[in-house]
């Protein structure tokens, strides 16, 4: 009798520990989307190819703490680019170390014309804040510069000229949460671009879009305000 009771207690502990081990840590994530990992990249936001070469893009992107699958990462950023391997961007980044420990940074990333990429990491912005993430292409100095809230993080030589602007949230598996929930959408306000020879920042004013509309959402609130979210999450 006594040994049966001990066995039941031990089994109860094993069940409890097993349950704790497989459930996501709710305190560390806004929402667990409960989707299978597939290792594919997903985007939500907007982009535009202006009629004149762009020389700058900016947006006040809300810093969010999404659920990040093991060893994956979630980002949100502004970007100038010229096709698949030529881009220059700044944004926030959240990474999982493989043990459900999340670390966050602001980051910049760019490529040259020879197939090399460069990434730098800086202290993160506060969750819930909406810093202005801005990328500039200086046509005279032929140089990139990246800033957060007007503070220039870095400047480096540019080796190609941008044609397109993008403002996106990005995940690297279906199992990640796209930043935001349908009742707490991540905002991208004051989304503007400026063209070569222009002196005025212009509204992006293009349609919002997502890679997979069955799991993510994106909405254009007005010409300069966008929002993105994960359909599996309310907050």
């Amino acid at each position: 009798m006594r040994s049966a009771l001990i066995l039941r207690l031990l089994l109860a502990q094993v069940v409890a520990l097993t349950t704790i081990a497989v459930a996501p840590d709710a305190a560390a994530a806004a929402c667990w989307p409960d989707r299978v990992n597939n290792g594919a990249s997903y985007f939500a936001g907007t982009g535009r190819t202006p009629s004149a070469f762009p020389r700058g893009v900016r947006s006040n992107i809300e810093v969010y703490e999404p659920y990040t699958f093991r060893s994956s990462e979630v980002t949100a950023w502004t970007m100038l680019h010229r096709g698949g391997t030529k881009w220059s961007q700044v944004g926030w980044w959240q990474n999982d170390d493989g043990f459900l420990n999340e670390t966050r940074w602001n980051f910049i990333q760019w490529t040259d014309a020879n197939g090399n990429y460069f990434t730098r990491f800086y202290s993160p912005s506060t969750i819930g804040s909406s810093p202005k993430y801005q990328v500039m292409y200086d046509t005279m100095r032929v140089e990139w510069s990246w800033s957060v809230n007007g503070v220039i993080l870095h400047a480096a030589p540019a080796h190609w000229r941008p044609e397109t602007v993008q403002i996106q949230g990005e995940t690297h598996t279906r199992a990640d949460q796209m930043p935001g929930g349908y009742n707490a959408r991540v905002t991208m306000k004051e989304s503007h671009f400026i063209v070569d020879g222009g002196s005025t920042w212009l509204f992006i004013n293009t349609a919002a879009g997502v890679t997979d509309s069955t799991i993510h959402g994106a909405n254009k609130v007005n010409a300069e305000w966008y929002e993105i979210w994960d359909r599996a999450c309310s907050a």
């Binding site: 990249s41 985007f43 936001g45 982009g47 060893s71 990462e73 980002t75 950023w77 970007m79 680019h81 096709g83 698949g84 391997t85 881009w87 961007q89 944004g91 980044w93 990474n95 170390d97 493989g98 043990f99 420990n101 670390t103 940074w105 980051f107 990333q109 490529t111 040259d112 197939g115 090399n116 990429y117 460069f118 990434t119 730098r120 990491f121 800086y122 202290s123 993160p124 510069s145 503070v151 220039i152 993080l153 870095h154 400047a155 480096a156 030589p157 397109t164 993008q166 996106q168 990005e170 690297h172 890679t211």
Partner: protein
């Protein structure tokens, strides 16, 4: 200065160069006078926007190269030994006065935070990870990565 920590990132370290070059100007320690990393050349550093300046004549570092390397490993959350360690002059951000720092270099790294523009499908080969440690305070200035990208 930053004192934040990255823990446990995946790394695709493929091999160690097996050679740690130290440039220290403390008493009793040999001091190579030139930056000559094979992993990350001076041209590579310029592409990163990091233009080297001479450190000769600067005060001796308060932090040793070994301690800087240990800090770098802790920040990155890795156990791999550095491929190279050099003392350089660097600015944390444009416009700031250059400061002496330890540049700790590791071969390889994790995949970059972003895979590029929406709609692109790129392949990445991380080649190096660098960490700049203030040689007076021992704190992180910034860290960086790089490699090759192809469609």
């Amino acid at each position: 200065m930053l004192s934040l920590k990255v823990t446990g990132r995946r790394y695709t370290v493929t091999a160690l160069l097996g050679c740690v070059l130290l440039m220290m100007s403390g008493p009793g320690i040999a001091a190579p006078s030139q930056y000559d990393s094979v992993l990350l050349t001076e041209e590579d550093l310029k592409a990163h926007g990091l233009n080297l300046q001479a450190v000769s004549g600067k005060d001796s570092p308060a932090v040793s190269a070994e301690d800087a390397a240990a800090t770098a490993q802790s920040i990155l959350g890795i156990a791999a030994r550095p491929a190279d360690t050099f003392r350089i002059l660097a600015s944390a951000m444009p416009g700031l006065t250059p400061q002496t720092a330890w540049l700790v270099l590791f071969e390889g790294g994790a995949l970059p935070p972003s895979r590029g523009p929406a709609g692109s499908e790129n392949e990445f080969k991380p080649r190096y990870t660098g960490v700049l440690i203030d040689d007076r305070s021992g704190k992180l200035v910034y860290w960086f990565e790089g490699g090759s990208v192809s469609p």
